[in-house]
Symmetry: C2
Subunit: 298 residues, 2 copies
């Protein structure tokens, strides 16, 4: 018999992910404070309840995808949270980008009750969520991973078990570090080119043909050339992810000097009102610092 799936977090990412579960024939129970999303999901055939505890009570597998670590903590551990209704044999899948610590906390609590949990953060953005093509980085037991696969395959394509509990969140933190630092690198290069009077479009094209190639140089380099900073992935969310990386680094005793520098640049940009711009706005920031300008399409 197919698992009954509970789903909490019908946001920009969660809503299309839950929709994909319904389309694949899963029986889905949702809970959300937003009455609008609620009504839509009932029309699509979902069951709707009020609290996380009520979701847990009628589900075998519960998927959560929430904005930040404190939200995850509340949904699992607060009064009427998921763990107030946990039963042996349940599987919790937290797909939020949150700290490795909360993943460990959930896992310990689940195991204590004879349940299981996975941390399974995603990348691929709202487009990947709608198209069911998210990359999913999973931490947790081999057995839990196998059991979760049909559910995860309804929402994503590149689904990899990295290691034990927390490994998914560590991998996502690594991903966000590399993405942020690569955006910054492209920003330094394009600022240098523009200020030195060399066409950044030609520099981008030349660099894409060689060792400096990256998806960021390709896609976000093009964004900067077109001054196109609508999200995409909001800068304030990327700052949140770097904060998770820096906090994890502090706990683990790892030095992330350039991550710290880019986190600081993001602080400046968010204070300046750019938190809801795409994270590629970091490139514009470096161009602005140099008072250098990319000519062309605006």
């Amino acid at each position: 018999m197919a698992e009954r799936v509970g789903f909490i977090g019908l946001g920009v990412m969660g809503a299309p992910m839950a929709e994909n579960l319904l389309k694949k024939g899963f029986a889905v129970t949702v809970s959300n404070r937003s009455r609008g999303a609620f009504a839509r999901f009932i029309e699509m055939g979902a069951s709707a309840v009020e609290t996380p505890a009520e979701v847990a009570a009628v589900s075998d597998v519960v998927v959560t995808i929430l904005p930040d670590t404190p939200d995850v903590d509340a949904v699992y551990f607060a009064e009427n949270g998921l763990f107030s209704a946990v039963r042996p044999g349940m599987l919790f899948i937290d797909m939020s980008t949150a700290s490795p610590e909360i993943a460990h906390k959930i896992h310990a609590a689940a195991v204590e009750k004879g349940a299981d949990s996975l941390d399974a953060p995603v990348s691929g953005g709202d487009v990947g969520a709608r198209e069911g093509t998210l990359s999913i980085m999973v931490g947790g037991s081999e057995h839990g991973f196998e059991r979760a696969l049909p559910v995860l395959q309804a929402m994503g394509k590149n689904i990899v078990r990295i290691g034990e509990a927390g490994a998914g969140q560590v991998t996502k933190a690594c991903n966000q570090v590399v993405v942020a630092l690569t955006i910054e690198a492209v920003g330094e290069a394009l600022a240098l080119a523009a200020k030195a009077g060399v066409d950044p479009a030609k520099v981008r094209a030349a660099l894409l043909g060689g060792f400096a190639q990256s998806r960021i140089l390709d896609l976000h380099g093009q964004r900067a050339l077109e001054h196109r900073y609508n999200p995409g992935f909001r800068l304030r969310l990327h700052r949140k992810d770097l904060a998770i990386a820096l906090q994890t680094a502090e706990v683990q005793g790892v030095s992330l000097p350039n991550t710290a520098a880019v986190h600081e640049m993001m602080n400046v940009l968010i204070a300046g009102g750019h938190g809801d711009d795409d994270h590629s706005y970091l490139i514009q920031h470096l161009l602005d610092l140099a008072k250098s300008h990319i000519q062309g399409e605006q």
Copy 2:
């Protein structure tokens, strides 16, 4: 009639490049302090003379590829340098990675004598030099570029005119900034993963499937997993290139904060005896700082 080509700088890069010119049937005159390389090139059919001035006297086009900006300055402007024998109509192609300033200085001196010049730094390493597949980033006149193309095509594949004199060197500086900062980014991510007990090989593989993808993550990420730091591209040469980028940034009024930070890390590594290791040793440095270790193949 084919151009007579002079070639100065028979080093790790220059020797195979000059060899490719000979193979394509160019009449090549070489000059080099190294008697060993000298003899080999005479066997292959090159003419040999003593000084840069003597090379210029018997050549229509002169290619130079030298370790650093001061070497370039000496070969062009010292006593018995190229410019002591310049004739109208000559074309100079400096393929060294050097400062945009020296490119401008050569160009001004060439134009004053009715000659022309291109700055045409390369990427692709000694493998690209041997196989004739170098990427070549060219600054200078359209006319000079067209004239140089048959010569450049004997040595490279991806040959792009970026802009006027100096634009090739600016582009190369941008390339070296992006490469260095991407290596550092990969280093921070793999150090975080390793110290947090997550398999860096799996993190690399997962990140390659998404937005964090880069050639550096692919190739140098793999080097770090195998602890394989034989050059490749020597760390001390990359530091030299970052010094060019930082000096150009200072002249132009551009802030390159993470380039400055990585230059500083390279100073530490070179002081520690790693100047002749591959530049990917920067990843090992960040692993060492965290006292984190990649298990596996040694």
